[in-house]
Symmetry: C2
Subunit: 396 residues, 2 copies
């Protein structure tokens, strides 16, 4: 067993070293928490109602939740939330709360939304409408308006992406709200903000639009294993306390309440998040976000310099570019691909050195598949816009 684990560990070292494609910060150090791995820590039930099971970490969970509620400007006595198992659980919860508030509501989500949004609609037997997107990946708000107007008889439950999965595009929350209100949906809509990655980055970006409960939104979720970094997936879900009353059930057996998707809940995750929030704090995150955005610009610029079509949305650290035609290379660097494009998500664990090494290899291997320039660079204008494309037709 020891030798199996040793081999496996080396494999993880190598795979961690060469990872670029998914929005996970692989750079973390939780040595201080190793002493707690011996305990079965379970925050079963509600974070705010202590259950009879004593081996929990609710005090840390509530600390983390308070931090996020402050970040998104919801008062302590007005919010409810919990630490989830992943981004999907946040979306499943947010959309379910929306459905409980508006049982006959229709779910609107752009086609670039995370797959969990439409999974939720299917699970919950909700009507759902797919909204078009712009080239950037942002929700096409004129299409949204048109679809709303076709369904004025039913309330709207809207999934707003604070960073789409593939292109890192941020939907225009203010415009979404304006359209809802002007289309006759005032007090008849629920907005869930899927901030899986950028929910925690956006607050630290200058000139970025604000995600805040001072606007009429219902819930925000963010992942913990993404920008923060964590050994296992987790996330934070914050909603308005008023929405939870109708939703929750007392469970006498637990001496607590059930308002989460899962029952038993990982008590280690809040400890990881608490540690990082304490160590880095607001200022630390700000610095890391800035460095990520700088490095993303560096990557986008370097790709363009070497003749590779590439796009980087403002506010984003996700660099979208021409999909490498070498599957081994894609696997090696663990790039996430869709159609003709791939992306690198520049996280705190992605350094300039790593990007240089990646670029160096990309140039070499690309020269092979383009046969030293005899084959033309592919056109990806449809995916990233003509101004970002490097094909013969579009490059300037």
């Amino acid at each position: 067993m020891a030798s199996v684990l040793a081999r496996y560990r080396w494999r993880l070292v190598e795979r961690t070293e060469h990872h670029l494609g998914y929005p996970y910060n692989l750079d973390f150090e939780y040595g201080a928490l190793a002493q707690l791995q011996h305990f079965s820590i379970n925050n079963i039930g509600d974070p705010f109602i202590e259950s009879n099971y004593g081996v929990h970490s609710r005090q840390f969970e509530v600390g983390v939740l308070d931090w996020f509620a402050r970040l998104w400007e919801l008062e302590k006595n007005e919010y409810w939330g919990y630490i989830t198992n992943c981004g999907t659980e946040g979306n499943l919860h947010g959309i379910l709360v929306g459905r409980e508030v508006f049982p006959d509501g229709i779910l609107y989500a752009s086609k670039d939304s995370h797959y969990s949004a439409f999974k939720a609609a299917r699970m919950y037997r909700m009507e759902s409408i797919k909204v078009k997107t712009l080239v950037s990946g942002e929700m096409d708000c004129s299409d949204f308006e048109q679809k709303l107007l076709q369904n004025k008889d039913k309330p709207a439950i809207v999934n707003v992406n604070i960073g789409t999965t593939v292109k890192g595009a941020v939907d225009d929350l203010d415009l979404v709200i304006k359209i809802l209100e002007e289309s006759g949906f005032k007090n008849r809509f629920y907005i869930h903000c899927d901030g899986a990655l950028f929910g925690l980055m956006l607050p630290f970006v200058k000139r970025a639009p604000k995600v805040t409960f001072k606007k009429p939104i219902g819930s925000v979720s963010v992942s913990g294993h993404k920008f923060v970094g964590c050994p296992m997936p987790c996330g934070v879900q914050i909603t308005r306390r008023e929405h939870i009353g109708a939703f929750s059930r007392d469970v006498e057996y637990l001496a607590s309440r059930d308002a989460t998707i899962m029952g038993s809940r990982n008590g280690h995750a809040p400890l990881f998040l608490w540690c990082t929030l304490n160590k880095k704090g607001y200022k630390g995150f700000q610095k890391e976000v800035q460095r990520c955005l700088q490095n993303a610009h560096y990557l986008r610029n370097r790709l363009r310099e070497v003749g590779v079509g590439a796009m980087l949305n403002e506010l984003s650290s996700t660099v979208v570019f021409e999909r490498p035609r070498d599957e081994e290379f894609v696997r090696k660097w663990q790039l996430a691909c869709q159609g003709n494009i791939a992306h690198v998500v520049v996280m705190p664990s992605v350094t300039i050195e790593k990007l240089d090494s990646f670029l160096h290899e990309l140039v070499q291997t690309r020269s092979n598949w383009l046969q030293g320039g005899r084959n033309p660079a592919p056109c990806i204008a449809e995916e990233i816009g003509g101004e970002n494309c490097a094909c013969a037709l579009h490059k300037k």
Copy 2:
């Protein structure tokens, strides 16, 4: 931060020491895995389809799943499954698969089922019917039959408890199947077995009825943090491969498939389970199950000797008894309570010494609230049956 964590650690030691009420095995040792806490291990997507994200533990996950598929007698090429985040996720998945197989099916679950069964029905907008239970906590099959016959036009999705939460009662799977087939539901039913705790104990109990896919069941789930023991909640879900086709969606971004409830999935959990399966193996579990059942009998007998009404279902290690009237005592020993009863679940971490210490304190504190015998022992015949009750009326 260090001093906060040190204090917290002491609190966990004390709480772990005095835990009796929940079915968690708190006795585990995963030192060999501490070296892996530094990695962000995520089995995102399907266990059987490697995604582009390389820092995963699919090989261990599939190893664990194979072990459970063998235990429940489903061929390697005929099963599908995954490691879940908890027992609730197993139930949510099993019932959802049932609903996808029979979209207009009605969910039948006994009133002693885990709260997640009815939560699933509500989430999924399924019709659900609560079936009565016997005093033991087992499903009342005559009530089940009657309710089936009233709804012959719709298929049946049945949640069968392999150990109820409060009384540890095992529903009679064979009788449930017989009733379904004889009531005109042949090929029109789906059975999900909720084996949260006993799903892993039952196979090692002599004379126990068998949970096996050789019978017409659709899925079985079991928790990993219960009998096995694990730092955080997790579970195993096994279903028939044929059911998953219609259910799953390809997700190009992951280069994998989405057929789980969650998206990102804890890659450490399979490692914990794999370690224990390797260290203990079939024989090791068998020994532990026998010891738990022996210790449960010891506790039940000793409770009766000191005049406390107590019940222990055959096949079970859950001892149900008169609810202590001292909330501080309940909190100290972390007893799970419901109405007039409490229970102790005898897990491998519950030794005779711990039970003796608990009994000693119980006798002392009980003497206080019964005022040295001047107050009568409460009657709990309704909850545990007259033959198990120790009140003046029922005791022999």
